[in-house]
Amino acid sequence: MELYMSIAIGVLFAVGVYLILSKSILRIILGTSLISHGVHLLLLTTAKLKTGAAPLLGEQAETYVDPLPQALILTSIVISFGVTSFFFVLAYKAYQRLGTDDMEELRGEEDE
């Protein structure tokens, strides 16, 4: 199972990197979200996908899955959500003020 997950994470990273290297700002933001998905899945996968009950003591199970990575992922998800929403608004504002969503045109020094 870890192997399949690793392949999926690899694909997510590859697609994310490809999108980040494109010209349009929206594609870049989508790329960063895909990479953060990949990272969260990676956290889940490296902590071993043992079969066990959900980490709820009411389950009365023999074994539970590791609760720590779930807490880490939850923290990381809200952080990337906050950052991504800020990034979207920034991109919108930049489009309004600069009139372009093409990263190639965002070069230069001048403050025209």
């Binding site: 720590l68 950052v83 990034f87």
Partner: protein, 493 residues
């Protein structure tokens, strides 16, 4: 257990929350910010006393023993950096009062400022890797807001790039923590150190170490500094001073902590890579500092050079060079803040940031000119001033280790710093009057002068009183050379 340690983090956090409600009342915001920083300074002095007398202080959050809970660790290294952070913040805050502009003050500048401080101080004090990531994010999100606040076209353009870089490096940080957790099964730094020592730093752990090195290099601008010169020229001066003094240094601190506490077993491999990165940073930063004729650019490349210089101290990693690194870090934070503040004053006095269009400022601004001159000498490391003791110890450590190439580059980088800053001094202050029509004499509010002169007095004082500072820095470097002190303090209570 010592509840005092969390105060330096709590004070800015609570202040920021209070300031959000007072967003339209500028005067009240200024006073509350200033009082909060003074209070914070007081609390750090108390902690410093305790650390000096009783050794490392720890605080287990909600009483969970490590490695199960988050632990805050105040060793001398962290406390010295927190102290410096508070001093730099006080300087930047005073300077921002009259220069930042009403508009920004009404739109939550001071809350962001305090949140940034909370992030920086939290990064210095935490003893848990994931908590370090969270504090990094608090710091970075505040810095996104501060860099874009004002919303000019140039700011929007550069913030997009700055954000993208930091989002990627944060994603890599989480990925490297995922691998680390997968290999050793813990995230508490002291516990990590023990586990890595048990497992032996094999291939897998070395790969993770290099991943962390890449992450912290992106944050600190070590070799991967391509984003820095552009991003650090768009916000107002007070914000640039804050960034140049604090943000890159937090990355360096994390790097020093990681490679002296956790991954110190395979120094031939990891420290060699750091050494080459330091060489490349100093060379490229030097080229940039000499090449440009724009004051912002010259100062930004000076930041890059000093990052390389501090990494050189870490790469050598002897007691001498780490002593020097701690001393130099403290000097560099204060001196860089002052450098940007004076640079901002020069730019607003001349009405341009291009060296070719400045000139003749010394007649009209003698105080500013000589302050800049003294600061330039301090940054180079001329003996009575603050840059000297740290540089000497680092160079001595480098020669003792036989790292001749690295040390030679580091010494040469000091000459480049001297050349680039003297070029600014001669261009801006000495030449005949500029081609531009002479601006009317600018008057700064006294708070700007208080901040600049106060930081300058500290720069001189750090050099003159280096014996006294050294007693603290020596204690800080002891922990860096012997991780067992840190581990004892955290895990064996």
């Amino acid at each position: 257990m010592n509840n005092l340690i969390v105060l330096p983090l709590l004070i800015p956090l609570i202040t920021a929350v209070i300031l959000i409600f007072l967003s339209k009342r500028v005067k009240a915001q200024r006073w509350i910010s200033l009082i909060s920083i003074l209070l914070n300074g007081g609390s750090v002095v108390l902690i410093m006393n305790q650390v000096q007398e009783k050794g490392i202080q720890t605080l287990y959050m909600s009483g969970w023993l490590p490695p199960y809970g988050i632990v805050f660790v105040a060793d001398m290294f962290a406390v010295l950096l927190v102290m410096t952070t508070v001093i730099v913040a006080a300087g930047c805050l005073l300077y921002s009062f009259r220069t930042i502009g009403e508009e920004r003050e009404k739109y939550y500048f001071y809350p962001f400022f305090q949140f940034l401080l909370a992030g920086v101080i939290g990064s210095f004090l935490t003893g848990d890797l994931f908590n370090l990531f969270v504090c990094f994010e608090v710091m970075l999100i505040s810095s996104y807001a501060l860099i874009v606040l004002g919303g000019t076209k140039r700011q929007l353009r550069e913030t997009l790039k700055y954000m993208l870089i930091n989002i990627i490096s944060s994603a890599l940080f989480v990925a490297s923590m995922a691998y680390l957790y997968g290999v050793v099964g813990t995230l508490n730094m002291a516990h990590l150190s023990v586990r890595v020592a048990e497992a032996g730093q094999g291939g897998l752990l070395s790969v993770i170490a290099i991943m962390l090195l890449v992450v912290f290099s992106l944050k600190a601008g070590l070799f991967l500094f391509f984003w820095l010169p552009g991003s650090y020229r768009v916000p107002p001066t007070a914000v640039i001073a804050l960034f140049g003094a604090l943000l890159t240094k937090v990355g360096l601190y994390a790097m020093i902590r990681t490679f002296t506490l956790i991954f110190y077993h395979d120094q031939g491999f990891t420290h060699n890579i750091i050494a080459w990165m330091a060489i490349a940073t100093m060379v490229l930063g030097g080229i940039g500092a000499v090449a440009y004729k724009d004051l912002y650019r010259i100062l930004n490349y000076n930041v890059v050079i000093s990052v390389g210089f501090i990494a050189f101290g870490l790469a050598v990693a002897t007691k001498d060079s780490l002593d020097g690194t701690v001393l130099y870090l403290i000097h560099d934070m204060i001196a860089k803040a002052l450098m940007f503040i004076l640079g901002g004053m020069i730019i607003s006095a001349a009405g341009t940031s291009k060296l070719g269009e400045m000139g003749g400022l010394i007649k009209r601004y003698p105080l500013l000119g000589w302050m800049f001159f003294i600061l330039a000498l301090a940054l180079v490391g001329i003996p009575p001033l603050s840059g000297f003791p740290g540089k000497v110890l680092m160079v001595r450590g480098g020669l003792a280790e036989g790292e001749y190439l690295l040390t030679a580059i580091a010494v040469a980088s000091s000459l480049i710093v001297l050349y680039s800053l003297m070029r600014v001094f001669i261009g801006a202050f000495w030449r005949e009057d500029p081609l531009l029509p002479v601006q009317e004499k600018k008057k700064w509010h006294s708070s700007a002068y208080v901040s600049a002169i106060g930081l300058l007095v500290l720069v001189i004082g750090l050099g003159v009183g280096s014996e006294w500072i050294y007693s603290f820095a020596g204690q800080a470097a002891e922990v860096l050379t012997d991780p067992s002190i840190y581990i004892e303090a955290v895990l064996k209570e």
